[in-house]
Amino acid sequence: MAANNLKHALFCALVTLIISYPIIGFNLEIQGINITLTGATTSTIGMVLLAAVIVFLFQLFRDRIMSALRSLPNPLPQPRKEPMAENKRARIESWVLTGIVVLALFWPFFVSRGSVDLATLVLIYIMLALGLNVVVGLAGLLDLGYVAFYAVGAYTFALLSQYAGFSFWMALPLGACLAALFGLVLGFPVLRLRGDYLAIVTLGFGEIIRILLNNWTALTGGPNGIGGIPDPTLFGMEFGRRVREEGNTSFHETFGIAYSGEHKVIFLYLIALVLAIITALIIRRFMRMPVGRAWEALREDEIAARSLGLSRTAVKLSAFTIGAFFAGFAGTVFASKQGFISPESFVFLESAIILAIVVLGGMGSQLGVVLAAIAVTILPELAREFSDYRMLVFGAAMVLMMVWRPQGLMPMRRVHIELKKQE
């Protein structure tokens, strides 16, 4: 046992060295027109060796460390208690939710502009995560290219406003529908794939969209992106200091109040809030409709679902399309909020973060996804000093979550269905 451990630990340390030394230990330097290879400083090499030693020690004492980790008290309460009566819980839940919504409505008027801006971003992520939750959490289709639909929504609005002068409200349904169309088109070829293969194809699709946006300079402006995307208007009232478009009035003049940049930020926040609530409500309804049950059935057992007359094609396509639709929604809001978009906003990392939100929140659980979206978006902002280590902390948090609570923050709860007794 001990000898085995030692051998394993030595091997792991060696792998660490082999991987990290060539990557970190050598530098390419440009001297004139030549590139020379120079060794790194001794301190860097020391760090690499130290890392190898740490890996060695960890692997050597892994059993003991892991058992110590397991004996740590679980910081999250265990669901050991008897569940509350269904109707009581439903009542409490609806009160709490109403309270949160009311709070969210009035909250932006009392805080700084920066926090409202951040909250808008959180709401966009909530929309994205709720949409991806349909695809990954309910239908069980691992989609790593979800950000592509987000990009389609954002670019639809940007291009329509640039070339055709569309306003936010006209572009919102169009962006969502176009994203849904892309979801449908992507859905067809990937229908037969499952698990890993599906993940790879969707990953590729996400990259295709991004690279297309990056290289189609004539239309999308390439890496320079598109700027000057208009803000949403409220019944033809604009929020800028001066009216940009003929026929519109400005918000502060109509109401006779002093111009303030905050009006626009708060208005955008409220739009995002309303759209996020609409998204949540619609998807919540879907989950309790035949189509939602069909998604889950297909995830649970595809063969049984087919034997009962569910068409795999229709069910999977509907999940893909609806998920993409809400990503397009979020994308349009995002474009309007930023006023400027470029392909850089739609890299794979975004897909990974949205997926992480869904997994952290608990697959299929809406409340969990909302909580996770808040945590994943706000925590990095709070810890700005550690921004270099953001990904490290992020990874560590994921690992700890998987150890302590593999089912996510708030695992999905089944709807309780009251049945009448037979006479």
């Binding site: 619609i282 063969i303 087919r306 034997s307 007359g309 269905i417 009448k420 037979q422």
Partner: protein, 251 residues
């Protein structure tokens, strides 16, 4: 109502099913028996559309169905269970039954979002049907349990109930008694007979439990190594020399 003619299924060099013919009439329980690996489940998979047969015809109520996609065949009214229970494990018992009634429900997305009267009416009907069948198989108390947590015998019964809520004309059961104890097998026996008598469903059955097969079958088809060996009433089959040699054992 079901008529299988000269069905063949070849996997590469292996002829798993060779010229098997059988038929099921209305109001009849027909069993397929045979040693392990004889090709019984392959016949099932061909009929239910999971495999495309390489030869032969399958007629259901006069129409050819061989090679049709599985979900279309099931919508015609031929529904099957599986040798290993296949439930939607993380969904609740009653949800399992609701999924199966997809066909009877209003699946229009918009009418579901705004809850049209038609949507509610169908939803209510399917709940009634679900609770009726749960009561019938004795699972009503467990309606909101996770299906994956049920005991094995209960899962078997739920699988049959899940087929029955689709209101099939022909029920295909693949070894429904596997893993059941004698008391449960007896209950199952009664359930299958009552499905035929009270609900006018024809049953096509694969089973190893001879007591069950001999008790309830109207006719039996014996398959050995992919080829049909004999067919007839239980008594005829019991006395057939070939069958005794191949399957029942020489005693």
């Amino acid at each position: 109502m079901l008529d299988v003619q000269n069905l063949s299924m070849r996997f590469g060099g292996l002829l798993a099913v060779d010229q098997v013919s059988l038929d099921v009439q209305e109001h009849e329980i027909v069993s397929i028996i045979g040693p392990n690996g004889a090709g019984k489940t392959t016949v099932f998979n061909c009929i239910s559309g999971f495999y495309k047969p390489t030869g032969g015809k399958i007629l259901f109520e006069g129409g050819e169905v061989q090679g049709k996609p599985d979900y279309k065949i099931s919508r015609l009214g031929m529904v099957r269970t599986f040798q290993h229970v296949r439930l939607f494990g993380q969904m609740s018992v009653v949800e399992n039954l609701l999924v199966a009634q997809h066909r009877h429900l209003n699946t229009n997305l918009l009418s579901g979002l705004i809850k049209t009267p038609d949507f509610r009416e169908r939803e209510r009907k399917s709940l009634d049907r679900a609770s009726y069948w749960l009561d019938r198989v004795g699972l009503l108390e467990l309606a909101n349990r996770e299906a994956g947590n049920l005991a094995y015998g209960q899962q078997r019964r739920l699988e049959i109930a899940r087929c029955m809520v689709t209101e099939p004309k022909l029920l295909m059961l693949d070894e429904p008694a596997a893993g059941l104890n004698p008391a449960e097998t007896k209950d199952l026996n009664q359930l299958i007979v009552s499905l035929k008598e009270d609900y006018n469903v024809s049953v096509l059955l694969i089973e190893h439990d001879m007591s069950l097969v001999m008790d309830i079958s109207d006719r039996i088809t014996v398959i050995n190594q992919g080829r049909p060996l004999a067919s007839g009433t239980p008594d005829e089959v019991r006395q057939n020399d070939d069958v005794i040699k191949a399957y029942l054992g020489e005693a």
